[in-house]
Amino acid sequence: MSQQMTSKVELELPAGPVVTERRASLRWLMLAVGLVVVLALPWFVYPPVAMDIAAWGLFAISVDLLLGYTGLLSFGHAAFWGTSAYATGLIAIHVGLPFPVAVIGGAVVAMVIAVPTGYLAVRRTGIYFAMVTLAFAQMLYFIANQWRDVTGGENGLQGIPKSFFGIELVETDSFYFYYAAIPLILLGVLIAWRIVNSPFGRVLVAIRDNPARARALGYDVERYKILVFVLSAGLAGLAGGVFSISHGFASLQELVWTTSGKVVLITVLGGIGTLWGGPLGAAVVVLLEDKLASSGFNGIGIITGTIFVVIVLAFRHGIWGTARNGVNAWLHRRRVKSGQSM
């Protein structure tokens, strides 16, 4: 394992990338490839499925922001994804605003909900943090289930329109809708990337690696945690809003704890602390579920549960983390070799 952390954090995170010039150019290349893949996706995958991948990808990034960069496992992130799914839907139905505005409105509502939740949850760390967030998500689930007049209870919120400035192609054709909605997802990814690569992001990593030291250096650890929690909730909300607009409905499924679990699965599968792993994990899980569902197999949990167990037991760096470690090792070997030949 390539990490040389002196701290006590036992999560197996890949070492932070050392940006040499070659790495920087490699990074731009990868970014370009990523963008092409995102834009080409609905040509190869059924567009609504492509939209699901994008939404789950951003959702996973929001979880990674907490888990990978701050060392907090939120096991209740469905609260923000689901709250925004409902809020976005309600705005789109009752106010009739174009869907990007509704989605941003939904994300704001998710952030508002995240303030008290985060305030309470950051009082505990580690496994307790996971349980507290999980419990709050379940509370929202119960509320959505009981508040039938607004949420539609078990029927969910149906008939959410894709209003988009009267452009019919976007409103009816899921292929064009993808291109209208993907900027929202990319905006979320950009925000996450900015957060991670900012001084604020470095403080988060410092808190992850050694909270006591960060505190000793004068950082208000709790405030940083609440702030990143709320930002992460906003990203989850952005993803959840796009998801509900894309599907045209919001259901209790969006708030249930298995959804919180699924996004953590996607994040770990992609690789925690990598940011880019999220969309990769999302692609694998969404495509797999789509395949299983269309083949009529009713026991998806048997497969996803097994995958989860295997990843956690034997593959903890995830897809991206393993690939990155592989590339790092290869580059290192090459450098050693060229050093010898000189």
């Binding site: 996971a130 419990a135 119960f142 298995t258 679990g261 949990g301 048997i302 996803t304 167990v309 956690v312």
Partner: protein
């Protein structure tokens, strides 16, 4: 008044399941440092296995009670040996995730095999009907379930405080490192303790079988409430698990009786209040952060 007594009994019976299961969760956490997400699924398995025993082999409640508990002990031992053991040295989050994966597997496995509709089960012979106490008709089985849970909790308490095994387990819970230094082989107790915790969850499942709907999803809400219970009680604390279990059971029952539709939210409000005032839980100690 009669309604109040009804709710109290209902609350104590529900609280009994929570207390039993939370006790298992607390013991496992204490000795292994693992938060077992699959505890709700094990509770569900306990109930489903008793229903299957009755349906396939005609074995009733009184046979199922000890048999399922032993079976679940075995299941726990297997799970610890095959899976949990490999992650014990790592951050506890990994075992939390592992057991979450196990939960997904178990729930969908049962769903695939036995469908989503509830399996039938009857109230065991001798405990049908109601008994008149102080002019209030109370279900005999609920009284039995509440008393039995209290009895098991007391039994476990005695086991932990009055026996040598209990002393070792408590010492390992308190401080595994120091226990080791004093010559106790903590590692030897890891597997049986895990099995024991799972067996308690299974036992709660059997007890729940006669009056709860038995299906693959019955553990889904249960596990979340269980987490609220251990957050309220303080995860490391065995006494806390039992007290908070009964407390949450009562809050839930009174809530359903008097507060109507938002009753389940009450549990989480209680949890939020505890986290706010005493982050470590009612009986917990402040963790080093």
């Amino acid at each position: 008044m009669s309604a109040f007594i009804q709710y109290t009994l209902q609350g104590l019976a529900n609280g009994g399941f929570y207390a039993l299961s939370a006790l298992g969760l607390a013991v496992i956490f204490g000795v292994l440092g693992v938060v077992n997400f699959s505890h709700g699924a094990c509770y569900m398995l306990g109930a489903v296995i008793s229903a299957v025993l009755l349906d396939q082999l005609g074995l009733g409640f009184w046979v199922a009670l000890p048999l399922v508990t032993v079976l679940m002990f075995g299941f726990g031992v297997l799970m610890e040996r095959l899976l949990v053991r490999w992650l014990l040295k790592l951050d506890p989050l990994y075992n939390f995730l592992l057991t979450f994966g196990v939960t997904l597997f178990l729930v969908d496995f049962v769903k695939r095999r036995y469908g989503v509709s509830s399996l039938p089960y009857q109230v065991p012979a001798g405990l049908e009907g109601r008994v008149e106490i102080a002019g209030v008709g109370l279900s005999k089985y609920l009284i039995f379930a509440a008393l039995f849970s209290v009895l098991v909790c007391v039994g476990v308490w005695m086991l932990l405080t009055k026996t040598r095994i209990g002393m070792i387990v408590r010492a390992s819970t308190e401080n595994a490192e120091r226990s080791r230094a004093l010559g106790i082989n903590v590692g030897r107790w890891v597997t049986p303790v895990f099995g024991f915790g799972i067996a308690l969850a299974g036992l709660a499942g059997v007890l729940a079988a006669p009056f709860r709907a038995i299906n693959a999803d019955m553990g889904s809400t249960f596990i979340i409430i269980l987490f609220a219970v251990v957050v309220i009680g303080g995860l490391g604390s065995i006494l806390g698990a039992v007290v908070a279990g009964f407390l949450v059971g009562l809050v839930e029952a009174y809530g359903q009786g008097y507060a109507g539709q938002f009753s389940q939210v009450l549990i989480f409000v209680l949890m939020a209040a505890v986290v706010l005032v005493r982050p470590a839980g009612l009986f917990g100690r402040e963790e080093a952060a």
